[in-house]
């Protein structure tokens, strides 16, 4: 099949040392020119629209910028000190806290790469400081970051719901228990590793250190409160203030203010080792924006944004190929025509999505596959909400398996590790997610219990 040629080409180019983005883009472009009537202009348009037409991807640059300000401006170090004081002495403590941080963050953000970006740089640095290997740290974050699309809110769930006409609210509720379960399984695995392998830990430093480090990290920790309130509001006081994408921009601005005006670790109020009070240098309110320190943080964040988005944009050219050639439809059609029972059908859906997830970004794949398998699922008596959760979990796994895995790319960029090393690092925890997928597939109750409890039994139309 032509499509095998395409994938061989992609992998071959990557191994030759062609940048990932160009390997994806060049293979897809050649394929489109050979096999379809798509014009080069249309490919250029796809590249431009990768940014201009995907507003939800904006969370990526904004969160990169926020973590950039946090690590340069001393916010991250203070949070790291606080976390080490709290859990650094427990077996696997920091790694478990890292998973917990990803779960918390997943409840704030609808996207998995954004979760890795926001949590990754801080947690990986913290784990390194206590003595974990970079591989272990990156493997944990890369996997836990995928919870971003399982724990609501989730962009992928919104896409699934609109493609199949199920309730978004139900889908969100359905993600809660599986999200907690997946997070729990990762934590248990870490604990097991920690005890078995004798993972490093710090000495317990006492309550005084917890209190001192908390006071020091207060303004950084407040970011979580600001984002939580902004996204969900306070009942009786205020409605929500911003969307998950906007939250990322607010986080960047907050980190900027805390770094420059409160901690004064960088910017115009920092002079060697001294911190100048704002009242002595009020012009800093303006000069902060043009300070070389600010520029360097923006540049660093911009550079990571550029390399990651260039990959994502070229992955969208690949999506264009698959859509244009109707390849997922062909594969799904061939597999579904065989006429299987319910269990076999779910296995087939898993296989289609796992293969598809190797090469496509989640929302695009869901849009194409969901309408195909949905009617068959309903006929076989599969619950639509359950099917949705299975699909989301498959997407999670797709994000951490090569050759196209957004979380792999983002982790590689954030942790400064080679792709192959991230792949190897993620492997043990990937196995955990696989077990999780099997559980979620065969125990529908995990997905449907909470939505049924909260919203009553589902009415399945058609």
């Amino acid at each position: 099949m032509d499509v095998i040629l395409l994938f061989v080409l992609i992998i071959g180019l990557m191994l030759l040392g062609v940048p990932i983005a160009i390997a994806l883009g060049l293979s897809s472009t050649l394929f489109l020119l050979w096999f379809s009537d798509t014009s080069l202009a249309s490919i250029a348009q796809t590249l431009y629209q990768a940014m201009e037409g995907h507003a939800t991807l904006l969370a990526i640059p904004f969160f990169i910028l926020a973590s950039s300000f946090m690590s340069t401006g001393g916010v991250a170090q203070r949070i790291i000190r606080f976390s080490i004081a709290c859990v650094g002495h427990l077996p696997g403590g920091l790694a478990i806290a890292g998973v917990f941080a990803c779960m918390m963050f997943a409840a704030l953000s609808g996207s998995s790469p954004a979760t890795v970006v926001a949590i990754g740089s801080i947690v990986i640095a913290a784990m390194r400081q206590v003595g974990y290997s970079k591989d272990f740290a990156a493997g944990v974050i890369c996997n836990a970051g995928t919870l971003g699309i399982l724990i609501p809110p989730s962009i992928v769930m919104v896409v699934y719901a609109s493609a199949t006409d199920v309730s978004v609210g139900r889908m969100f509720l359905a993600g809660v228990v599986p999200g907690l379960l997946a997070g729990g399984m990762l934590m248990v695995t870490i604990l097991f590793f920690a005890i078995w392998k004798g993972m490093p830990r710090e000495k317990w430093q006492g309550w005084a250190e917890i209190w001192a480090s908390f006071r020091d990290a207060f303004w950084g920790l407040m970011l979580i409160v600001v984002i939580m309130v902004g996204l969900y509001g306070i009942p009786g006081v205020t409605k929500a203030i911003f969307t998950p994408t906007e939250a990322a921009a607010v986080a960047a601005i907050w980190s900027f203010i805390v770094a420059i005006f409160i901690y004064r670790d960088m910017g115009p109020l920092r002079d060697g080792e001294t911190r100048i009070p704002l009242w002595k240098k009020p012009q800093a309110l303006v000069t902060a924006f043009f300070h070389p320190g600010t520029r360097d943080v923006l540049l660093e964040a911009g550079r990571l944004t550029i390399t990651l988005m260039f990959i994502i944009a070229n992955a969208l050219i690949l999506k264009h190929v698959l859509t244009d050639e109707q390849i997922p439809q062909d594969i799904a059609g061939a597999m579904l025509d065989a006429g299987f029972g319910k269990i076999m059908f779910l296995v087939i859906v898993n296989v289609i999505l796992l293969i598809g997830g190797q090469f496509m970004e989640p929302s695009g794949l869901i849009l194409i596959v969901a309408p195909l398998v949905f009617p068959i699922a309903i006929e076989l008596g599969v619950d639509p909400i359950h099917l949705g959760v299975i699909m989301v979990v498959n997407m999670e796994i797709g994000m951490i398996t090569p050759p196209v895995g957004l979380n792999l790319f983002v982790t590689s960029g954030v942790a400064g590790m080679s792709m192959m090393r991230v792949v190897r690092a993620a492997l043990p925890f990937l196995a955990v997610l696989f077990v999780f997928l099997i559980i979620v597939t065969y125990v529908p109750w995990i997905s449907t219990w909470l939505p049924t409890l909260m919203m009553g039994p589902e009415v399945i139309l058609r």
């Binding site: 348009q45 609109s162 006409d165 978004v168 509001g233 109707q326 309408p371 009415v459």
Partner: protein, 314 residues
């Protein structure tokens, strides 16, 4: 190939943004493809790309002018960049009901609109109905005062922005994927849409209720590029256009049923729908109608008059 296109057939890509089997536009596009593929075997073959999998409405017309997609049916407001005449459908309370819209589109004025973008390279083929727009928010909306100070997510079009300003509300542009969440948490208070979209996007789940304002039109127009149409064999083109016309007649006649089914499904889900009495409705009309004056020049007073002459009859 799932559409079963054979060698020698003219492949026609039809790209749209809704589902393929429940939304009025999706149903019509699928029916058109089914009929062409059955009746024009050997000459023409339609592949439908639903759910924005190929292009969304913002770039569809660009891609069409570029020759990368042959047919599409964007909402009428997307044509306002080509000619302002299309703003007539966004003007609030221009049409009483879908029958009036139908008659206007079939009139000489409406038909002339299809050809109004010819110099830009596009040709309108048929109008497809979706339905009239309703207003929803996180509090009951019975009079325009109820909407004062609220934030409504809208498609950013000049007319809609002016319409929201006229009732003292603010228009908020927002990525479509984030609208549900924003309505749920209260980042924005409300939105306006046709029944099928309110139902399809599940907005009613996170709104206090929907007010049956019928204040605007949300219709589509099937378009193609003039270059592509000219490149077709005249007989093939005629057969395609005949099928398209028959599908249009059939589906437009059924649109009320689809619309009402969506409305009923919202009721069945336990969400409230509020009807307006004559005084309440008049208050909305009085508040919004001044917007007409702002746009009369671009739309053409004669077009507005023609629409109103038809509207009077319904």
């Amino acid at each position: 190939d799932p559409a079963g296109c054979d060698d020698g057939e003219t492949v026609v890509k039809f790209s749209h943004v809704t589902n393929a089997d429940k939304h009025p536009k999706g149903i019509a596009a699928s029916l058109f493809a089914e009929r062409v593929n059955a009746e024009m075997e050997g000459t023409m073959c339609v592949e439908v790309y639903p759910n924005s999998t190929l292009y969304d409405d913002d770039v569809l017309l660009e891609a069409m002018l570029q020759g990368d997609v042959q047919l599409g049916a964007p909402s009428l407001s997307k044509f306002e960049t080509f000619t302002k005449v299309f703003q007539i459908f966004d003007l609030p309370f221009m049409f009483k009901n879908i029958a009036a819209v139908d008659e206007f589109q079939a009139s000489e004025t409406g038909q002339a609109m299809k050809a109004s973008m010819e110099r830009r390279g596009l040709m309108g083929l048929e109008f497809w109905h979706n339905g009239l727009k309703q207003l929803s928010a996180n509090k009951p909306l019975l009079t325009p005062e109820d909407a004062k100070g609220l934030k409504f997510r809208v498609q950013p079009s000049d007319v809609i922005i002016a319409q929201m300003e006229a009732i003292g509300a603010s228009a908020q542009p927002m990525a479509f994927a984030e609208v549900y969440g924003a309505l749920q948490t209260g980042v924005v208070d409300g939105q306006e849409n046709a029944w099928s979209n309110i139902y399809g996007q599940k907005f009613y789940e996170v709104q206090d209720g929907t007010t049956e304002t019928n204040h605007g039109v949300l219709d589509y127009m099937v378009v193609a590029s003039t270059d592509w149409l000219d490149s077709l064999d005249p007989a093939v083109k005629d057969q395609m256009l005949t099928i398209l016309n028959e599908v249009t007649t059939e589906r437009n006649a059924a649109v009320n049923d689809v619309d009402m089914a969506a409305r009923q499904a919202i009721l069945d889900a336990g969400s409230e729908i509020r009807a307006l009495d004559d005084t309440q409705r008049q208050a909305w009309v009085d508040a919004m109608k001044p917007v007409w004056d702002q746009f009369a020049e671009g739309v053409g007073q004669d077009n507005i008059d023609a629409a109103q002459a038809i509207n009077e009859k319904h």
